[in-house]
């Protein structure tokens, strides 16, 4: 009897949460085995940060003033690499076909992949933050934990929208051009609010503006995740 219950024919397909965890585990495992993407991301982001200082020259005051902006731009540029890679690996050996044929909810694929991207970008942000503080000579007026929290919420918003657009762009022609064109306009509110919140962490928050920036980031997260959850199953049908 137990043998019959365990046989593949009678096994129940996993629920949304279980399937999400499987997809997340798969993505993180692939990343962990090579660690190629994280290494590339970190070095790409560092060189972007350095390029900003080269472009502005040795004006330390200006660099310090706009450090929050450079920090987030480095993360956003790196996210393009990370997001397109997250669907490129599914193209190898028709892995996406297998994922679609598996008896799991397509939304689980979205949540799993978006969470995987969030973890990567968050990790990148955590590595990049102390580096930016050192390179741009910043002082953290609020706590470092708040900074990591903001990086986390910002990464979630970038990953939700990014995973959605990357699914489309990675299967179209000229995918490297398409992803930034589609993604950057949608990310503008995320950039504005994350940079606003991060600048407050570096410069202090005497006017109590932090709540409005984090509130905006929260609302953007709700919008992007909800739209992604609703629309993602439809776009993967046609890939």
């Amino acid at each position: 009897m137990t043998l019959l219950q365990d046989s593949p024919a009678t096994r129940k397909p996993p629920g949304l949460l279980a399937a999400t965890l499987v997809v997340l585990r798969k993505d993180l495992l692939i990343e962990w085995r090579t660690r190629a993407r994280l290494n590339a991301l970190v070095f790409f982001a560092i060189s972007t940060l350095l390029l900003f200082s080269f472009a502005l020259g040795a004006n330390t005051t200006a660099l310090r003033q706009h450090a929050a902006g450079y920090f987030w731009l480095a993360i956003i540029f790196a996210s393009i690499l990370s997001l397109s890679e997250s669907f490129r690996i599914e193209g190898e050996n028709h892995a996406l076909e297998g994922l679609k044929l598996a008896a799991i909810d397509a939304r689980a694929v979205f949540i799993g992949k978006a969470l995987g991207n969030t973890v990567l970008l968050w990790g990148l942000g955590i590595v990049l933050a102390p580096l930016s503080i050192a390179v741009f000579d910043l002082k953290v007026k609020m706590s470092l934990w708040a900074l990591f929290g903001i990086i986390g919420i910002g990464s979630m918003a970038i990953s939700a929208a990014g995973t959605f657009y990357s699914a489309i762009a990675s299967n179209a022609r000229a995918r490297d051009v398409l992803l930034p064109i589609l993604l950057f306009p949608v990310l503008v509110p995320v950039i504005i609010s994350s940079v606003g919140a991060t600048a407050l962490i570096f410069e202090g928050d005497p006017m109590g503006q932090m709540r409005s920036w984090t509130g905006m980031l929260g609302v953007l997260n709700v919008i992007y995740w909800a739209l992604g959850l609703v629309l993602f199953p439809r776009i993967t049908e046609d890939i």
């Binding site: 929208a161 299967n171 179209a172 064109i181 949608v186 439809r234």
Partner: protein
């Protein structure tokens, strides 16, 4: 000029839009009516805006560009909102009409958006002292133009009509965040651009001229969108047409035999 006349002008385009919901064929005559109405109203709109309307207290005659700038940006927002509606309709019920109309409305909306933003920049120079400033309204409008350019680029980069329709419907639905941001940016954030005016705060003559111009551009929007829709339908028909539909005689079994020999 009585206010009812300005409202009466809207009867034709609004009536047409309601009527085609019930009887599709009406658009074939309707778009010609719209084209004629636009052709008559646009020169009058130019007269009303440039000569008839009084000068503004602060800006003098410079403000007159408002009669071209504001209606065109309205039409751009209307175009992308229509794109959102068609995208949603496609996702709910797969229809080629919705797909073709979504493509048409995005392109026409983008056209009006580019012209509207350019006119705004021209107006910005004498009033703000600069053509462009990184203000929330202007930035969000520029972002909207880039997004819908990307939308149209994605359509060109995808060959399979089914895939293209689904993806662009998803993009159009996701993209509604942007026009909403453009419209409310002046309310949500501190902006150099003035907030929306109401007829109560504006001279009745200016209101009339603005409504007249808006109605003229609405007729133009309907004409353009319908023409672009026909082009999109024709392109779609060519793409999904079986080879038999190509010109020339259909291949017979003899031809196949000859090739085989």
């Amino acid at each position: 000029m009585p206010n009812w006349l300005a409202n009466a002008l809207l009867i034709l385009p609004a009536g047409l839009l309601i009527a085609i919901c019930f009887k599709r064929d009406l658009i074939e005559i309707g778009w010609k009516v719209m084209a004629v109405q636009a052709a008559i109203m646009l020169p009058v709109a130019a007269y009303l805006g440039l000569v008839w309307a009084p000068p503004e207290r602060e800006m003098g005659d410079v403000y007159r560009i408002i009669y071209a700038h504001v209606p065109q940006v309205w039409m751009a927002l209307l175009g992308v909102t229509l794109n959102f509606g068609c995208s949603l309709a496609y996702l709910m019920k797969k229809s080629w009409t919705a797909d073709a109309l979504a493509e048409a409305s995005a392109e026409v909306g983008l056209y009006f958006g580019i012209v509207g933003v350019t006119l705004g920049a021209i107006w910005g120079k004498p009033t703000w002292g600069v053509y462009w400033t990184w203000d929330p309204r202007l930035t969000s409008a520029a972002v909207m133009l880039i997004y819908y350019t990307g939308y149209l680029a994605m359509r060109r980069f995808t060959e399979n009509p089914d895939t293209r329709a689904t993806w662009s419907a998803a993009l159009g639905t996701f993209g509604i965040v942007i026009p909403v941001t453009v419209y409310f940016s002046v309310v949500w954030m501190k902006s150099l651009h003035q907030v929306q005016s109401t007829p109560k705060t504006v001279d009745p003559q200016m209101v009339f001229a603005l409504r007249w111009a808006a109605c003229a551009f609405l007729c133009l929007l309907i004409t353009f969108t319908y023409q672009r829709y026909k082009v999109a339908r024709a392109a779609l028909a060519r793409e999904v047409a079986p080879p038999e539909a190509l010109s020339g005689p259909p291949p017979s079994s003899n031809d196949v035999a000859k090739v085989a020999v």
